[in-house]
Amino acid sequence: MYRYDEFDERFVRERVAQFRGQVERRLEGSLTEDEFKPLRLKNGLYLQLHAYMLRIAVPYGTLNSRQLRQLAHIAETYDKGYGHFTTRQNLQFNWPKLKDVPDILDLLADVEMHCIQTSGNCIRNVTADQFAGVAKDEVEDPRPTAELLRQWSSLHPEFVWLPRKFKIAVTGAEHDRAAIKVHDIGLKLKRNAAGEVGYEVIVGGGLGRTPMIGKVVRDFLPKEELLAYLEAIMRVYNSEGRRDNKYKARVKILVHETGEEEFRARVEEEYAKLDGPTINAPEEEVERIAAYFAPPAYEDLAEDSATLDGARASDPALDRFVEQNGFAHKQPGYIALTIALKEIGAVPGDMSADQMRAFADIAEKYSFDEFRVTHSQNLVLPHVKKDDLPAVYAALKEAGLASANAGLITDIIACPGLDYCALATAKSIPIAQDIAKTFADPDRQKAIGDLPIKISGCINACGHHHVGAIGILGLEKGGRENYQITIGGDATEHAALGERLGPGIDAGDVPGAIEAVVETYLAEKQGSESFIETVRRTGAEPFKAGFTAFIEARAAAQSEAAE
């Protein structure tokens, strides 16, 4: 993985000193709260319902054991002994004090980490495929691009006061695990007919109040032209994006209101005026960054492992874990493992300091000292020897990290919701916990198969509910929490937005409604179709009928009980 050089090191240290100064100037009144707020947000610091919250950047979701141990230390010293992995591959602490934040930032800088631009109206932490460098369907590793963009977007002089936040995702694979069509900019590494590597550039996707699928603005951008082309897009957006209404300020609205053709023309016009060579990264620099992502020193192994096969045959729990959480590795004899932070009844994405230390040891010993954070609030051990898998499983189990439910109905994404978030309109985590408990039986989960549920506690959609195969949106209605259910959403290369099944329902009815939806799927399913495949074939109608029948039965039962 990437390591800081002297320039990176000095940059983050100076950024810490800058923030320390900003805190001091806030306390003595040089900065008002209105001025300080965007400055602290650009450094990941929110003021939430109960306390400040600090969001730490995990660039493109890659971490090492030393970093995780430092996070455990911070969690115990300055927080309440745990951290929370988010849907943007970041980590949040929910209870830091403003007075301690500069010291926390220094501890992060000690392990080459920072909080730069994890919030605010600027280019946010760049995300990437969690199986980068692992997946067989990869044209090129997206991480060097993501690292280049991390550097380029950090404290950009022109683009830190944008109309609204700006999110970039990169994938290098055919199967899109980075949700590039629902980002402000999505980049897909591809080859043209001549075999050269470049990018498909997608602009104007996004979730939130007005969800939209991004438009292809450039079908093939030569790799070396990336930064200049992004500068052109950003300048058009910074100049012309709406600033009169925060709900219409994202680039998706600009693309929509301007029209795809006209937007493309304006970007190309700006691009034609740019002096590309003075903006783009020098080729040696691109190569220098890429060298950090060279494959680790794999051993020459056979594809199959007799050790693993034997262990699976004698331990059904291990067998289930490998089947559900394993991901095929391009290197023979290796496997990638998803570590689902989704123990039944736990808070999705939460990890205790003890678990962090245990997991750091596992990653160090068994995965070339590296692991990934996914946008599903899970972790990935990217390079595990199949021969080591029984030992890895035992260690994970010991740490309470061996949940064999990756991708299943209990592997639920949930934003922090009203339990923590100042913007939330309804709780989100307890809904996830209730659904997980309802479907706790492993055999039932297996029979249902892949079914990503995504829950947001407000219209801003941090829980990505629009692109959940089942999406749940919590709102406030008449002084109560109320939940809308959608189906058919998809964040992959088949990107689609979910469709609402009917009126909103009470929190207590959500697990039952999800059961009704699942029953409809099991009744409609043909062959080995997954949930989303069935929805694509049948459309939403049968599911709406099942949902309506549930609502009516509930209402009938309630009025009977009242009589």
């Binding site: 319902l49 306390a51 403003l98 002084g479």
Partner: protein
Amino acid sequence: MAKEHRAGSKVRGDKLPAILMANHLLEGDVVFLADGGWTLDPSGAKIAHDAETAAAMEAEGKAAAAANAVVDPYLVPVDLTTTGLPVARHFRDAMRQKGPSVHPDMGKQAEYAPIR
């Protein structure tokens, strides 16, 4: 410029009785206006029973924000328990009085006597 999110009660209609809630600037903790200063204890909040007291408390909150002591002070409509303690009427404010529902071991509910 787009209007930024501001804290405030979402209760409609009658806003009394009320307490005044804010965050401590340096610590971040939820604080309540009490007689002669701010308290961390939800049971110690001063209660406004009339519009005049509420206005005076609101002014005190604004002054404390201007003096860089607290952030986002606002009046919170409450119901009173049989012993006269304030319970926020909106579930969002009630969450701030207690702490996260998913972590009974954290926040006010872990540090102070429950409001009964």
